[in-house]
Point group: C2
Chain length 189, copies 2
């Protein structure tokens, strides 16, 4: 089938979000798609090629979701709540962010992989900075938007990791609560 390439990236993405790139072998990936490992090498000659496709696919999907949040409009609080919805959806089925997982495996990634990974994080950060800045007048704090954005990026990546260890979503919930309070002036005294 012509769309085996798509099947490969879809299944690989899910596996990497659970057990990392090192935890995924060409053989098991091939088995799950129903082809042989040599056929996987036809689509992705080296593991770095597969990793690159995964980072790009994941980044595109993520960017599309953020764009749709921006397009829907509304208050900053509403946008950040929908942002957290996107993050919490990742936590389903023992998964963490694909790029958070790969960040932990940084030492085994190619230079190209690293660059794409870096771009994923800066794109998320830039989106947050833009949205916070756009609503700056309503802000409940004097902290610089780009500083808040950095803390939020770190926060969601860490919360996904730590939440999974605890087997619940409390750290994600705390993230939502604290940033709602920090950024939403309506709840303040």
């Amino acid at each position: 089938m012509a769309d085996n390439r798509q099947k490969l990236t879809d299944i690989a993405q899910s596996n990497v979000q659970k057990s990392g790139l090192k935890g995924l072998s060409f053989r098991t990936l091939a088995d799950e798609v129903g082809i042989k490992s040599s056929s996987v090498h036809y689509h992705f000659p080296e593991k770095a090629d597969l990793a690159q496709a995964l980072i790009e696919q994941y980044s595109d999907t993520f960017a599309t979701r953020l764009d749709s949040i921006s397009a829907a409009g509304g208050s900053l609080m509403r946008k950040l709540s929908r942002f957290m919805d996107v993050i919490e959806a990742v936590a389903a089925s023992d998964s963490v962010c694909l790029c958070g997982m790969l960040a932990a495996e940084l030492e085994s990634l190619s230079p190209e992989n690293r660059q794409a990974l870096q771009r994923f994080f800066t794109d998320m950060e830039d989106w947050l900075t833009r949205e916070i800045t756009a609503h700056r007048a309503d802000l409940g704090t004097a902290i610089e938007p780009h500083q808040l954005a950095k803390v939020m990026v770190s926060g969601v990546e860490g919360a996904l990791l730590v939440s999974r260890v605890h087997g619940n979503t409390e750290h994600l919930a705390a993230q939502r609560t604290v940033f709602a309070d920090l950024l939403g002036p309506e709840d303040r005294a």
Copy 2:
């Protein structure tokens, strides 16, 4: 030598903080200590035994540092600044938190490893909750201390991971800035 066990855990810890447990082999570990891999198995029969020793050693060292911060006393701001000093010291030499790294490799850990890992995070969270609660009167926010603690734990773990991808410490610096502003009322209008 009788302290080869200590050499093993020290070198293993440093390696795991850089490349994870899956990235560490008994052979390379043995080479770096100057013994053979079968001798490593004498000290740690299975990899899970080594992992357990690493988590416990790391947790003990970390707890000692937090205790010393508490003992030194001072304002909440001062304690949190020293807490961030401890975290930033980890970021040296391309390392992330040992337990953050193992959290990414959760699926390959034994039940005992997972429990110890969980305890590391709750211990850090409990320390933060205790310190924030003790200074509650000075707090610049109405957010629950345990919620703030959860966000800080997630935040530092994520910041270590993301900082390494970018090759700088900006995300750790942002963490310091934002929490200083959030918790330290003296800087507020």
